[in-house]
């Protein structure tokens, strides 16, 4: 039986005032593939179809979703449908009035990113002065009674601030802090050398997390997203391909996760051409890796396949060049040496006290230049 989806990530636009070098958006976000954003009524139809399929959790993301002037309408529609809506935002130039309007429209939860614990480093990583807006917005969420998640993507240049990040979230009265070690897709894969942490950095940060969890109890939930290159086994990516989750891109393509569009060997259907139900149940991109009949060895006979579903198809494509092989992060994968080499490069640079290589900021000119190179 085909599983029913629970989660929809609606990427409302790829326009964004921030330029974080680990952005999960496609490298070619500024290209023609994503240019014609879905209109308000098209998104509302997608939400209705998603709800009828079984979706209960809706992420409103981007790019920066606040750049959509119809965001309040989209939230109101989601609320009427009974979807639990989360706004995933940078909070750049977010006013209290706008947030109050979103509250009235029925928004359930707000997640605001911050790039580091202090203004100087946060603004440097974001490539845009935005820290002050974020702090103001955190306070607006408290005043308006929203549950708040503070999200920080961790990498080589901010892992030393994990304790300060947790203290910041605590002082804001947040419900959750998501410490998300960089997953290497999109811009993060492009900037992998500059972002890759050392093992020592990760070990120190993890000790801080354990200590702070013990101190805080259930006052603040500390989510630690594993740095999978440093793990022995792959993550159960998306809870399995096309089992519970889908992403709709600004232009209406539907992907089994927000990185899947990079897999050039899959055909992605568009909500402008097909009902969501057909895309979920029958389209090529969703059926190719659903279940376990696609699995090669070592996954096929592995008892862990029920736990990790063979890992991540996007990572297999990016690192090994084939979306249909075992996730190269797995220590049983014949491609594991490629992951080890990326980790070793970071260790060698750290041992030689070399500065990490410079990253490319996520911005439209860089995106177009990368797309032109193919």
């Amino acid at each position: 039986m085909i599983p029913k989806p629970l989660w929809l990530l609606a990427e409302l636009t790829y326009r964004c005032p921030l330029q974080c070098p680990y952005c999960s958006n496609p490298l070619d976000f500024a290209g023609g593939r994503f240019k014609h954003e879905l209109a308000t009524d098209e998104w509302c139809r997608v939400f209705r179809e998603a709800r009828a399929l079984g979706v209960l959790q809706l992420g409103l993301s981007g790019g920066e979703p606040l750049l959509r002037p119809d965001l309040e309408t989209l939230v109101a529609t989601a609320h009427e449908l009974g979807l639990y809506s989360s706004l995933i935002t940078s909070a750049y130039r977010l006013t209290r009035d706008r947030l109050a309007a979103l509250k009235r429209a029925g928004l359930d939860h707000v997640q605001i990113s911050v790039q580091a614990a202090d203004a100087e480093l946060s603004d440097h990583i974001a490539g845009t002065a935005s820290y002050r807006d974020k702090i103001a917005a955190y306070h607006y969420t408290r005043e308006l009674g929203f549950p708040l998640t503070v999200n920080v993507v961790l990498h080589r240049k901010n892992l030393h601030q994990v304790e300060a990040m947790i203290r910041l979230a605590e002082s804001l009265g947040a419900e959750r802090i998501e410490l998300a070690n960089t997953q290497f897709y999109g811009w993060a894969f492009h900037n992998r050398n500059a972002l890759m942490p050392t093992k020592a950095q990760l070990d120190t940060a993890w000790e801080v997390v354990l200590r702070e969890r013990a101190r805080l109890g259930n006052r603040l939930e500390i989510v630690w997203v594993l740095p999978d290159y440093h793990e022995q086994y792959p993550k159960p990516c998306m809870g399995g391909w096309a089992r519970a989750y889908m992403t709709v891109t600004p232009g209406g393509e539907v992907w089994p996760c927000h990185a899947a569009g990079r897999i050039t060997t899959l055909q992605f259907a568009n909500v402008r051409d097909h009902p969501l139900e057909w895309i979920w149940s029958e389209s090529e991109a969703f059926t190719r890796f659903r279940g376990d009949s696609w699995m090669p060895e070592p996954c096929r006979s592995c008892p862990r396949k029920a736990l990790d579903f063979g890992g991540c198809r996007c990572q297999a494509f990016l690192v090994a060049g084939d979306a249909g092989v075992t996730d190269p992060v797995c220590s049983l994968s014949s491609h594991r040496r490629l992951v080890d080499a990326a980790v070793a490069e970071a260790e060698q640079a750290a041992a030689a006290a070399e500065l990490p290589s410079e990253w490319v900021y996520r911005a439209a000119p860089a995106s177009r230049a990368i797309a032109a190179k193919g």
């Binding site: 079984g54 959790q57 989360s86 419900e175 109890g217 259930n218």
Partner: protein, 99 residues
């Protein structure tokens, strides 16, 4: 319960936390408690308990109401355990009884 919180007494008033919301899931024919990045699937009893957690009834009153409705004895421990597990996840909070 974590954080050294004492188990609530019979007079405590449980309430669904502001971040959580009861929702009917027609597709799977069940109710769910939705919260940021997750959900708890409920059986019929779970729904009945949570529908009474509206911030006006004490634990003792909720148990009494359920006993009357279902004619079931000895449900205190079940109700307390169910709500305790949700409270540990921050999905149910306990208010003080009115003085």
């Amino acid at each position: 319960m974590t954080g050294g919180v004492n188990p609530p007494g019979a007079a405590a008033v449980p309430c669904i936390a502001p971040k959580a919301r009861l929702q009917r899931d027609e597709v799977r024919r069940r109710d769910v408690l939705l919260y940021p990045e997750g959900l708890v699937a409920l059986n019929e009893t779970g729904t009945a308990i949570l529908q009474l957690c509206d911030g006006t009834r004490s634990l003792a009153e909720i148990v009494a109401t359920l006993k009357q409705r279902y004619g079931a004895e000895g449900i205190e421990l079940d109700v307390t355990a169910f709500l305790g597990a949700l409270a540990a996840k921050g999905l149910v909070t306990y208010g003080s009884p009115p003085r």
